[in-house]
Each structure stands twice: as structure tokens, then as C-alpha cells.
Amino acid sequence: MTKEEATKGVESLLLRTQGLRKEYGRDEGLVRAVDDVDLEVTRGETLAVMGPSGCGKSTLLHLLGGLDRPSGGELWLDGKRIDRLSERGLARLRRWDIGFVFQAFHLMDELTARENVELPALIAGRSSRQAGVRALELLDQVGLADRAGHLPSALSGGQRQRVAIARSLVNEPLVVLADEPTGNLDSAATLEVLRLFDHLHASGQTLVIVTHDERVAATADRIVSMRDGALVDEIRLTGGTRANLRDLMTLER
């Protein structure tokens, strides 16, 4: 496919991979961490990537976010091919177009919640006033306006992850990539994060979430399953109605 054909593609297509590969080692020791993956993510979609640990799902996410370079194949974001960007181009992409959320939050311990959220905006060249206003807006959105001045150590796990999610949004990314976002959270905190993802989804944010947590996957529009580096199954979670709930409970005996 030529560049023209690809950019012309469906308006709603935001992220696309074609034959994407990532290999480590060589000869007998060759490991195909990501093996010929074709994936399309439309604007506003929440996609979950599931699979056992070691299946390559995190590697795939790193490729999508320009944290790592593919060994082969193509990667397109918003109509632009990004797998061949220079280091500088990749850095720009990560700063402006992609929001990252990690399992271990990756907040700066010595910065307050607000400063953590501001940081990527400041790095991207916004004024400290702009960054500050935006950070407070986002902390409000994630329900933590009253914790803006707290250090991460004074926050619960769920709150830290919500700060990290606010931070991922500060530069209005095209897509948020989340790697096991609930991996370190208990069930109540998981619910907080799921509720937030639901809000993001409703606001039209595109989300790609790598997870082995069925609860997280169940909030997605679509789930793809990975095994040994390859996509093996796709599930579209549409058409759920309340009527289904009736089948789940019985009071008869």
C-alpha cells in the first residue's frame, strides 16, 4: 500500500499496524515477541489487548507508543507513518501524540500530584500558567482536585494511578496507551480506574489497554487476544443489554 492510499483510508482510523514485527536474538535463539501483527484502532475506540504474560502484549504497546522500534512492518498514527521517524521525531510523538499509563504509576516522588501532571506540559513547552490550569482541570476530572498538593506517597494506589492518568492526558494525546493499569491495584481501586476509563471513553478519548485483568478488558469496545506474539482472537463487546442481567441471578429454588 502506498502512503497516499493509506492516508486516504477511513477518516475514523487512528492507529494501524501492518505486518508489525519485533524480534530479539538471532538464528536458533530468535524470539518473535511481536509476530506479524495487523491491527486497526478507530478514533474514540477502547481496545483491550489480552494474553498470558510473555505473549508480547507489552512489547506491542511499546511499539505503538514509539518507546521501542519494530524489526519490520508498518505503523501508522493519524495518517502518518511513524515506524521510521528519527529519534527526535519519536520523542516529539511521545510527547504530543501519545499518553502513557503504566502499572507502577511512574510518578515523580518528590513532586506533588499537580506538579506531576504539569510536567509533560512544561516539557512540551507550555507556559507554567497554562500547565498549571490544565493540571488542575485534569485533577478535577479524575476526582482529585483536593489532593493536588499531595505527594504521591500521601496518596492511595488508586489515587496515584488516577494522577498518572491525568498526566497522560495533559498534552491532549491522540491515544492513551495503558500497560496493566490495574496490575498493582486492589478491587476497589480497580473500580475507580475503570470508572475513569469509562468517562474517558465517553469523552471520545482513544484508549489502548494491555491487560490480563478481565475486568479491565470488559470495559473495552473490542478485545484482541495475543499468543506467542501473534493476534489469535478478536471479540467485539457490543449489544450488551440490561436484559442479560436477569440471567445472572436466581432467587428460585
Binding site: L194, E214, I223, N244, E252
Partner: protein, 174 residues
């Protein structure tokens, strides 16, 4: 509707059928929509016949009469027994398990395909229940019930993962 549930709901105070229904609806939230509105009255009638509840009085209202029911001593006793009973719904996994084994043995269907189909269905249900849970207000009783169903579905999904791993390994060995 289980008789003991209606009995136990009545243990708080003598009540009318619609009050019991309101308590049930609070406790069940969206899951209570499955209940047939008339069922409580049918159960109350049965309980009255067996002497576990008695008619305490009839309140006249503008739109007719409403019966107030109360527990009898034997009803009280039945409630206490019920509360002390340890019950656990048996997980019904054997049928699915045997389906996989039979399908593989006869070469009729791919067990992994069967697992995948089941997984899709459970994920859809998980999505529905979780959505309902997220919509419940803070402190809702129904949210706790929905959480229980979510966790069960999650356990089933993990078991399916084990099934898939197992059948994938077997296939490789063949």
C-alpha cells in the same frame, strides 16, 4: 422466589407486600428488574397457608385494601434456621468440562474453539454486570451483589484460560 427470602424480609417489622418489594429492589438494584411484581403476593399467600406468616391487619387506602403481614413464631424459627444454614451454590462446570473432552475425543469440534465461544459470552456478561455496577451510587447494596457476580465471572474466565492453555498444550503434543 424463595420463601425464606420473603420471610426474612418480613422479620424487620410487620409489612405490606409492596414494602417488601421496595426492600428487595433496594437490595438487588438492576437485578431486581427480573422479579415478577406479583410473585411476592403469591409467596405471602403460600406462607400464610402454611402458618409461617399471619395476617396482622388490613389497611384501607383510597385505592383499596392492603394486607399487613407478620411473622408467626414458627415463621421466626424458620428465619433463624435459614440464617444459620450454610449454603453454597455448586459451580456447574462439569458439563462444560465434559463437552471439551467429548468434542476432542470424537474429533467433532475443536475444544479451543468451544472455549473461545464461551469466553466471548462470559466477557459480554462481565461487561454488562460491571457497567451496571459502575452505575450504582456510592454505598449501594446492589453494587455489592453485582461485585460478587463480577468476581464469579472473573473466576470462570480464569478457568477458561486454564482450559485453553491445557488444550493448546495437548494439541501440540499430538
Amino acid at each position: 422466589m424463595q420463601q425464606e427470602v420473603v420471610l426474612a424480609l418480613l422479620a424487620k417489622e410487620p409489612s405490606q407486600g409492596y414494602q417488601l418489594r421496595a426492600r428487595l429492589n433496594d437490595a438487588l438494584g438492576p437485578l431486581g428488574e427480573a422479579l415478577n411484581a406479583g410473585q411476592i403476593y403469591v409467596v405471602l399467600g403460600r406462607l400464610e397457608k402454611t402458618g409461617l406468616v399471619s395476617l396482622e391487619g388490613v389497611t384501607g387506602t383510597r385505592d383499596g385494601e392492603r394486607k399487613v403481614y407478620a411473622l408467626t413464631p414458627s415463621g421466626q424459627e424458620r428465619v433463624s434456621e435459614w440464617l444459620a444454614e450454610v449454603t453454597w451454590p455448586k459451580p456447574d462446570l462439569a458439563e462444560f468440562h465434559l463437552k471439551l473432552i467429548a468434542a476432542a475425543a470424537a474429533g467433532l469440534a475443536d475444544p479451543i474453539g468451544i472455549v473461545d465461544a464461551q469466553r466471548r459470552e462470559l466477557l459480554r456478561r462481565l461487561r454488562d454486570v460491571q457497567r451496571a455496577e459502575l452505575e450504582e451510587p456510592d454505598g449501594s447494596d446492589a453494587a455489592l451483589l453485582l461485585e460478587g457476580i463480577v468476581l464469579r465471572l472473573q473466576a470462570d474466565l480464569r478457568w477458561l484460560e486454564a482450559c485453553e492453555a491445557n488444550w493448546t498444550t495437548r494439541r501440540r503434543k499430538q
